[in-house]
């Protein structure tokens, strides 16, 4: 842990990434109670108000809704869904990938083929089709579908991590003292794959944000009136010339969050690989 902090000190990129990420987490938790405006309130006097006008720090959209409060509320759903998605898809990936890699042989071959086939359809397209047909996406349905869409990728990573560890003789040693498969997979091997697994979870976090924002943008994400960053962009795209802030600020929010997580995830992978 000490080494972790020492390395963190030496990496300005990681510090920036982590700070921005923590800032967004803070905003998501505390922000809604601090903003005075409702995200649905339409300020009829200030439609498409420029930032600063009428007390709207980041301006208002075509309907006169406060951009800042919509961004603040939007951060909550996107962070929640992305966090859950990266956790769920990683857990599912570990279970599936570990089982396939550990047992090997036919189980593994079938697994690999199924994954190849599933990966033939881009995750975004898969999620979009299912959500689009189901209609009326909720936090729950988004979480489940995005998790499913990403599971083939995480399962592959988990399988690779297991295979690297499973060739170690401590696994053989556990086998020949009669340990159960479960014990070997999750007690002997899992703690040693923590590096790649952690790297995968953080990277997946960034990709989840990317996917959820894109789904929102495509109109198959959270439904109005819930504020969603992606949706804010597409709703106001037609007024980009007259009120660029309506699309620019949500876009920059997404960008800052994604970049922050990427920077931090890169740091995690450097530390984890360095430690090996």
């Amino acid at each position: 842990m000490n080494i972790f902090l020492l390395q963190l000190k030496k990496s300005p990129r990681a510090i920036i990434g982590l700070s921005v990420l923590l800032l967004w987490v803070f905003i998501a938790f505390a922000g809604p109670s601090m903003t005075t405006r409702s995200y649905t309130h339409m300020d009829m006097e200030y439609q498409m108000a420029a930032p600063g006008e009428g007390g709207h720090t980041l301006g208002t959209d075509a309907l006169g809704r406060d951009v800042l409060s919509r961004i603040v509320y939007g951060s909550r759903s996107i962070l929640t869904i992305a966090l859950m998605t990266s956790l769920f898809s990683s857990i599912a990936g570990i279970i599936i990938g570990f089982t396939a890699g550990y047992f090997g042989g036919l189980v593994d071959t079938i697994f690999l083929r199924i994954m190849d086939i599933l990966m033939a359809i881009p995750p975004l397209v898969l999620a979009m089709v299912i959500l689009g047909i189901l209609g009326n996406s909720t936090i729950l349905s988004l979480t489940i579908i995005v998790s499913i869409a990403y599971t083939p990728a995480t399962a592959r990573v988990a399988r690779g991590a297991l295979l690297t560890c499973a060739s170690n003789e401590y696994v053989d040693a556990a086998r020949i003292r009669g340990e159960s498969h479960f014990y070997i997979m999750f007690i002997e091997i899992l703690p040693n794959t923590i590096g790649p697994v952690l790297v995968e979870i953080t990277a997946r976090f960034a990709y989840s944000i990317m996917m959820i924002a894109s789904l929102g943008f495509l109109g198959v994400g959270l439904q109005p009136p819930t504020p969603d960053w992606g949706m804010m962009v597409i709703e106001n795209k037609s007024i980009i010339r007259t009120a660029p802030w309506t699309v620019l600020y949500p876009s920059l929010s997404i960008a800052s969050l994604v970049i922050a997580i990427s920077l931090f995830s890169d740091f995690i992978s450097k530390v984890m690989i360095h430690e090996e």
Binding site: R13, P122, V125, I133, I209, A213, F217, I240, I254, V258
Partner: protein, 321 residues
């Protein structure tokens, strides 16, 4: 001999994947709630007329019969009829849209592939130096950036302020895309930004891996000049994994196309897919998704063959002397 075996194997697998995917897509879409006949006729339709339409469309047949009919038509180039557009033959609009998307994908491809590879190589060779820091940072920052975010930023700069390129990629009625090639630039750049992160990072790490290999040390200590070592000894080996990555990400590129086409209103396959989903136009959804899958599977196949051809370890069988 070995090469041919691999070719046939992969070809077989490609066909298998397509069959499996077509089933998956078909069943996935068919089990979704909603009655097609009802959708076509609207809520006001009588039960009899709905039943009659179901009958005439063959919707009451068992699902495998419907699948075979659908897949059979597909193989013969019959993509079925659109529901939303009241019986318009899908193929009459589909291929033009595909053509547009292909052109956009190709434009993006010729933008990002050379740039990402060159930058990745530069970063890899100069690992730890300023050039590397800058390239790596940009790559990292753009890696998970949604295409519409990069698109919005580009629009703001190039369309809103500089007014060089159009905000929307519309083709005026009566014209073709060939007369409006400038509409391709911003969408292609949006994709380039995102793909750059991924590809350049891959190229960088494979370059670093190769540069620290024993055979590069050997070549250097044979007295070969550094430039020669990089271009003659390192490059080919370092490009192999990148070729795979690029090929494997063609699917991702098409996922990105949907977002970019929506943002710019570009008349391509992606925006067609989205509108098909929005209008629950099931035959059109099936056609679009299956075609995207086909693109991915086919490019994987091509990549794999290219990889095998360029890699002497696969091309020339091991034979002990």
């Amino acid at each position: 001999m070995d090469f041919l075996e691999r070719f046939l194997k992969r070809l077989g697998f490609m066909v298998l994947t397509m069959v499996a995917m077509s089933m998956l897509i078909f069943f996935l879409v068919e089990i979704m709630p909603g009655d097609v006949a009802q959708t076509i006729l609207g809520q006001a339709a009588t039960e009899e007329s709905v039943a009659a339409l179901r009958e005439s469309m063959g919707l009451d047949d068992p699902i495998h019969v419907r699948y075979l009919r659908w897949a059979g038509g597909f193989v013969q180039g019959d993509l079925g009829q659109s529901i939303y557009m009241r019986g318009v033959e899908i193929s009459s609009i589909f291929w033009r849209r595909v053509g547009h998307s292909m052109l956009l994908a190709f434009t993006a491809f010729i933008f990002y592939v050379p740039v990402s590879i060159l930058m990745g190589i530069l970063a890899g060779v100069k690992a730890g130096k300023t050039a590397d820091s800058v390239i790596s940072f940009v790559g990292l920052a753009t890696m998970a950036l949604p295409e519409f975010v990069s698109g919005i930023i580009l629009i703001t700069i190039f369309s809103v302020y500089l007014e060089i390129f159009p905000i929307a990629s519309l083709i005026p009625i009566g014209q073709t895309i060939w007369g409006n090639l400038n509409i391709l630039v911003l969408p292609a750049l949006s994709i380039t930004i995102v793909m750059f992160g991924y590809v350049s990072r891959m190229q960088r790490s494979s370059m670093i891996g190769v540069m620290s290999s024993d055979y590069i040390r050997a070549a250097t200590l044979k007295g070969m000049p550094r430039r020669y070592v990089i271009f003659r000894h390192a490059l080919k080996n370092a490009l192999l994994p990148t070729i795979t990555i690029i090929g494997m990400n063609m699917g991702w590129l098409f996922g990105g196309l949907i977002v970019v086409e929506t943002l710019f209103g570009f008349p391509g396959l992606g925006s067609l897919t989205l509108s098909a989903i929005k209008t629950r136009d099931i035959p059109l959804i099936e056609a679009c998704v299956l075609f995207i899958t086909f693109i991915f599977v086919f490019s994987t196949f091509i990549t794999d063959m290219a990889y095998a051809f360029l890699n002497p370890k696969i091309r020339f069988k091991q034979g002990e002397v």
